[in-house]
Symmetry: C2
Subunit: 328 residues, 2 copies
C-alpha cells in the first residue's frame, strides 16, 4: 500500500504520509510531537488547516469509575456504526520516570486489532502545561489523519486534566455509585464541565440515589440556562455494554445542539484559546527549565534555603531571564 518509511524521515515527510493514510507515519509523528521535536512544530502548523472535522469527545471521571472500559465500549459502538475512532488516554505519570503507568490497557486489546481505531497513552513528562499542549497536538494529528471521533480519556482530577477535558467538543463525566465522600466531591468539581453525565455500574445498589443526587446538582447549576443544554444523565453498565448505544446517540444530539445553537463556534474559539495558552505555557516552562538548570542558579537556591535571599526576589530575576530568552 505504501512504500517504506525512512527511519530518519522529517516531520514534513511523515505528515505527507499521514495525510495519505499511513498509520505508521501517524504514530511516528505523534512521538515526534510528544518529544517536542523542533521540526514537528512547523509540521503541525501546516497540518492545522486540514483539521476541524472530527467530533472530539472528552471522557473523564475518577479512578475506579470504569471510564477506560466505557471508552472501549464507546469505540466499539462507533465502529459498528461505521465511524473511525482515535483514543488518547491521559495517564497519571511518575514525575521521575516520565513513563506512562497505566500503559496500554489489556482490556483494549481487541480494539487494537482494528485498523480504524488508533490508541495512544500520553505521559506527562513532568512538564507543567506540557501535557495539555501535547495532548491537543495529538488530537490535531488524529483529526488530520481523518478520524471521525476522537476520544480524550482523563482522570478527572487536577488542573491540567480539567483543561484537557474542556478542550473537547462534548465532555462526558463518568460517575459511579458508592465511591465515598472524597470522590463525590471531585465529581462535583468536574460536574460543571459535563455536557453528558454517565452513571456507570448502574446495576449497583446506590445508582438510583446517585442519579437523584446528580439531578439535584444539575438544578443548582448555572450553566444550562446560559447554553440552552441541560446535561442528560445516561446510565450504563460498561462491562456489559448496556447503555452505550444510548450514550452514542446522546453525543450525536449534543453535537447537533452545538451546531444549531451556534455554540459550536463559541466552543471551538474557546478551545483555540485554551490550545494557544497550552502552547505558550509549554514554551515558558521549557525556558524556565533551561534557565534554572544552570549552576549559578543552584547556588541561588541554596542561599534561599539558608535564608540569605528570598524566593520572591530571585523569582523576579528568573522572570527577566525567561522573558529575555529567545528561540527555544
Amino acid at each position: 500500500m505504501t512504500t517504506s518509511l525512512p527511519r530518519n524521515a522529517s516531520a514534513d515527510q511523515l505528515a505527507e504520509r499521514l495525510l495519505a493514510g499511513d498509520r505508521l507515519a501517524l504514530a511516528r509523528l505523534i512521538s515526534a510531537v510528544e518529544a517536542g521535536r523542533p521540526d514537528a512544530r512547523h509540521t503541525l502548523r501546516c497540518l492545522f488547516p486540514k483539521t476541524g472535522r472530527a467530533h472530539v469527545v472528552g471522557v473523564t471521571g475518577p479512578p475506579g469509575s470504569g471510564k477506560s472500559t466505557l471508552a472501549t465500549r464507546l469505540a466499539m459502538t462507533y465502529r459498528e456504526r461505521g465511524s473511525t475512532v482515535g483514543i488518547v488516554a491521559v495517564d497519571p505519570t511518575s514525575p521521575f520516570t516520565g513513563g506512562a503507568i497505566l500503559g496500554d490497557r489489556v482490556r483494549m486489546m481487541e480494539l487494537h486489532s482494528d485498523p480504524d481505531v488508533f490508541m495512544r497513552s500520553m505521559a506527562t513528562r513532568g512538564v507543567m502545561g506540557g501535557l495539555a499542549r501535547s495532548t491537543l497536538d495529538v488530537v490535531l494529528l488524529l483529526d488530520a489523519f481523518g478520524k471521525d471521533v476522537i476520544m480524550i480519556e482523563t482522570v478527572g482530577v487536577g488542573q491540567d486534566e480539567v483543561e484537557i477535558a474542556r478542550a473537547a467538543d462534548s465532555t462526558v463525566v463518568v460517575g459511579v455509585p458508592n465511591l465515598g465522600d472524597d470522590i463525590q466531591a471531585i465529581k462535583a468539581g468536574i460536574l460543571e464541565i459535563a455536557d453528558i453525565l454517565v452513571v456507570n455500574k448502574a446495576d449497583l445498589a446506590g445508582a438510583d440515589r446517585l442519579v437523584a443526587d446528580l439531578r439535584t446538582m444539575l438544578q443548582l447549576s448555572t450553566t444550562a440556562p446560559r447554553t440552552g443544554w441541560t446535561p442528560p444523565i445516561v446510565q450504563t453498565v460498561a462491562t456489559e455494554g448496556s447503555g452505550v448505544s444510548e450514550l452514542v446517540d446522546t453525543l450525536a444530539e449534543h453535537r447537533a445542539h452545538l451546531e444549531t445553537s451556534g455554540n459550536w463556534r463559541v466552543r471551538r474559539a474557546e478551545s483555540a484559546r485554551r490550545q494557544v495558552r497550552a502552547i505558550v505555557e509549554d514554551r515558558v516552562q521549557r525556558r524556565l527549565e533551561a534557565v534554572t538548570a544552570g549552576e549559578e542558579w543552584q547556588a541561588r537556591f541554596a542561599s534561599i534555603a539558608a535564608r540569605e535571599q528570598d524566593p520572591y526576589s530571585v523569582a523576579e530575576e528568573v522572570l527577566s531571564a525567561v522573558a529575555d530568552l529567545h528561540g527555544q
Copy 2:
C-alpha cells in the same frame, strides 16, 4: 491580649501582628496572599528570613484513603506532645466557582477549638501554578507564625499536587487496601516521592498484601540507594488512632536523618527551586490571563476556530506580548 485590628490593615501591619502571635492577623494575611494582593508580596519578602524552623510534612494519597482523618489524628498526637500545628488542605476545586468544595471538614471540628492548631483549605482559583505558589506562601506564613509542624494535605493526583507534595521536608504517602487498579496505579506514581509509606485501614483484609506489594515496589526503587533512606511502611487505622504515634516517631526519625545526612540542606535548596518556579509560573499565568482576555485576541481565537489562522503562530505572538508585559 491584642488591640483591635483595623479592617483596612496593610499587609505589613498584619505581618507585625502575626509575628506577635495574632491568629486573626495570620488568617487575614493568608487571605491577602491567596488573593494575590500586591502589598502581600512585599510582606512575604520581609517575613521570609523569619522562617525555616518548622517541619513541613506532606500527607498525600488517593481519594478514599482516609488521609484527612489521618492528618487530624497526626495533629492531635503532635498536640499531645506539645507541638503546635498548622494544616493546609489542598482541595480539588471547581474551575468555575473558584471555591473549595470539601471546605473545612466536620471531622476536624474538635481540632478547631484548639488555639494551637491552625487549619486552612486552599482553592485553586483556576490558575495554573497558582495553587503551588499560594500553598507555599501559606506554609511560609504558618512557619513565620511559629508553628512547629506544618502539614500539607493533598490528593495525590495531578502535576500541581505532586509539585506541592515534593516541597515538604517529609512526604507521607497514604495507601489503602482494595481500592482497585486505577488507584493502585496512581499510588505507584507517587510512590517515588514517599519518605514514609502508610497503609491505612490496616485492619481490612488485603492490608498484608498491600504491605507486601509496597515492599516489592520499594526494592525496585532507585531512590533509597541515593539518599540512604528506605521509606518505612507504617500501618495505621486512622479512625481509631492506632499506629499514629508510631508515624509521628517515624517522621521525627526522618527529620533527624535529613539533618545528620546533610540531605536537609539539599532538600531545602530543591524546595527553594520549586518555590521560585511556582512564583514565576504564577506570574506568567497572570500575565497570560491579562493578555488573552483582550477583545482583539478573542477575534484571533475565533479565526483559529475557523482555520484561518493556526494556534502555533498565534501562540508565538502571545509569547512576545507576555514577555513584553512588565509589572503585574
